[in-house]
């Protein structure tokens, strides 16, 4: 396999590609196609959400008003900040600054962890308020007063969407954190150069996508119908 041997001298070039440019283009196309499948994956959930929100608007509004808007907004900012550090990390890899790459990757992980921590606090509140569909569903007091007008069954559907959408999002965050950890380890070994940093870029795109999902989840779940 003289061909492959010749290729082997180029770091990171897989045997099926002719040159690094072809490989980079293929990688970019691949990750973007993957993100499109993610759009459709979350999209099914968003479509179902759109239907029920339209059918049971007052229940969704009631449910939305139980959520803590401050925590939601804070989390939005945390996640946006993590996107910034992620973008800076890709930039550092691009310029060949290994230390900055690692630092920004770790910063991204810390911000991601903060997001998940706040999410955990919110989830815990839902158990305290007994508004977890199926597992702990017995709204009382003020929650009950807010949810009752839209019908408790329909409010339960709202909270199902709340947990399904944020849960699926959190799962993506956890996968993203694992990928970041892998990047940190590789970056410290010095695997990435200004010519080869595709993994950082690919994980970066994934991380930004997860951020975009949250950009929509925040208004869709927390800001229904206004809080005036």
């Amino acid at each position: 396999m003289t061909d492959a041997e010749a290729h082997g001298q180029l770091a990171g070039l897989a045997h099926q590609f002719e040159d690094l440019e072809q490989q980079q283009e293929a990688d970019a196309l691949g990750i973007w196609l993957f993100l499109v499948t993610e759009i459709m994956f979350f999209g099914g959930l968003f479509a179902a959400y759109a239907i029920y929100r339209w059918l049971y608007f007052s229940a969704f509004q009631g449910g939305s008003h139980i959520l803590d808007i401050r925590l939601g907004a804070a989390n939005t900012i945390v996640l946006l900040a993590s996107s910034l550090t992620m973008a800076l990390s890709v930039r550092s890899a691009q310029t060949g600054n290994r230390r900055a790459t690692v630092t920004f990757l770790i910063a991204t992980m810390i911000l991601g962890g903060t997001f998940l921590g706040i999410k955990g606090v919110e989830y815990n509140q839902k158990f305290v308020e007994h508004v977890v569909p199926s597992l702990d569903w017995a709204p009382e007091g003020q929650s009950l007063a807010r949810l009752a007008p839209g019908g408790l069954d329909h409010a339960q559907i709202y909270f199902f969407f709340y947990f399904a959408m944020t849960g699926l999002h959190a799962l993506h965050m956890i996968i993203g954190m694992a990928l970041l950890l892998w990047l940190v380890l590789r970056a410290r070994k010095g695997d990435f150069t200004p010519h080869y940093f595709a993994p950082v870029e690919v994980v970066g795109l994934y991380w930004h996508f997860v951020d975009i999902v949250w950009i929509f989840l925040f208004p869709l779940l927390y800001l229904i119908g206004g809080r005036y």
Partner: protein
């Protein structure tokens, strides 16, 4: 039935028109299948390979031909679309004055309730020549009310009313099938539609008369559930008057307007807070789980009767 039937009986007013479209489609299918088959056979024989190194001339294609065989199918499907949709659309609504019968599906039987109060299981007696409208719901999973001889079919959904209508044109007994898979004995969820001459139907009705019409049953449930406490006839109660409401537009607190049809009545019983009439408070309790599907049907039937009545003059300013 005889040895090998190739057509189900035509026993309803629409059966013939559906069959006409069916036969047209069959003709189209046969024509094009025969056309393609014969051209292929002809070409395969005429242009069979005669020597191993035969190299036929290349043909790139022909734009006029492409246009032709795009246009022809387009025209044909346009005709079929218009034909099929018109037929369907025209028949999607029951004619005025149709006889109303409630049907409830449950695993694995059909329960039928006539306006006069007769109940049947897995059988439906109807008079010849009179439009019959079925208002259907299910107690559990999705079923489907299918009468091949009438060419009608509609899913029967839990938590919702669907309806279909037919006008029988032939006296006899016809198959009723469940056509949406519904569990272990789906195949056993069958029954028969008995079409009788109107006078026979009358005597059948008289024969098994339970002494209580569906509205009377509904009125009883209505009273027993305490509905009249709030829904006062003059509109001064905590709830809106129900007189003269059925089939009319109702304004909601959200500013929307809905038609007070069966679906709305049903929803108001089960999810009273979903659509509140303008000017009233969401205080009505839900009757979900309190009433059986049949009792719900009875009440809806009674509400239709109330709906026919003239509303009492309403004083303005009711909160």
């Amino acid at each position: 039935m005889q040895s090998l039937p190739f057509q189900p009986e035509q026993a309803s007013s629409i059966a013939r028109s559906v069959d006409e479209l069916y036969f047209f489609l069959t003709a189209v299918t046969l024509f094009f299948t025969a056309l393609i088959f014969s051209i292929i056979f002809y070409f395969m024989i005429k242009y069979r390979r005669r020597s191993p190194d035969e190299r036929p001339k290349a043909i790139q294609g022909s734009f006029p031909l492409e246009v032709l065989w795009t246009a022809i199918p387009t025209l044909i499907v346009a005709v079929i679309f218009v034909w099929g949709s018109t037929l369907y659309f025209r028949n999607s609504e029951a004619p005025k004055g149709a006889m109303e019968i409630f049907v409830t599906g449950k695993q694995w039987m059909w329960k039928v309730e006539h306006p006069e109060g007769q109940r049947e299981i897995n059988e439906l007696h109807v008079p010849l020549g009179r439009p019959v409208k079925l208002t259907m719901t299910s107690e559990d999973v999705i079923h489907d009310f299918f009468v091949p001889a009438f060419r009608v079919k509609k899913d029967v959904l839990p938590g919702r009313y669907t309806s279909l209508w037919f006008q029988a044109t032939k006296v006899g007994t016809f198959h009723l099938f469940c056509a949406q898979y519904c569990g272990a004995f789906h195949a056993g969820m069958i029954g028969s539609i008995v079409v009788q001459e109107p006078n026979e139907y009358e005597s059948w009705l008289a024969g098994g008369a339970p002494g209580e019409s569906i509205e009377q049953a509904g009125a009883k449930v209505f009273q027993a559930s305490g509905c009249p406490t709030c829904h006062l006839a003059d509109g001064t109660g905590l709830g809106p008057s129900l007189l003269g409401v059925y089939g009319q537009p109702v304004k909601l607190t959200t500013g929307e307007t809905v038609t007070a049809d069966d679906a709305y009545m049903r929803e108001s019983l089960l999810l009273p807070k979903a659509k509140i009439v303008f000017g009233y408070s969401p205080i009505m309790p839900s009757f979900q789980g309190q009433m059986t599907e049949e009792q719900l049907n009875d009440v809806v039937a009674y509400l239709r009767v109330l709906g026919k009545a003239q509303p009492k003059p309403k004083e303005e300013g009711k909160k």
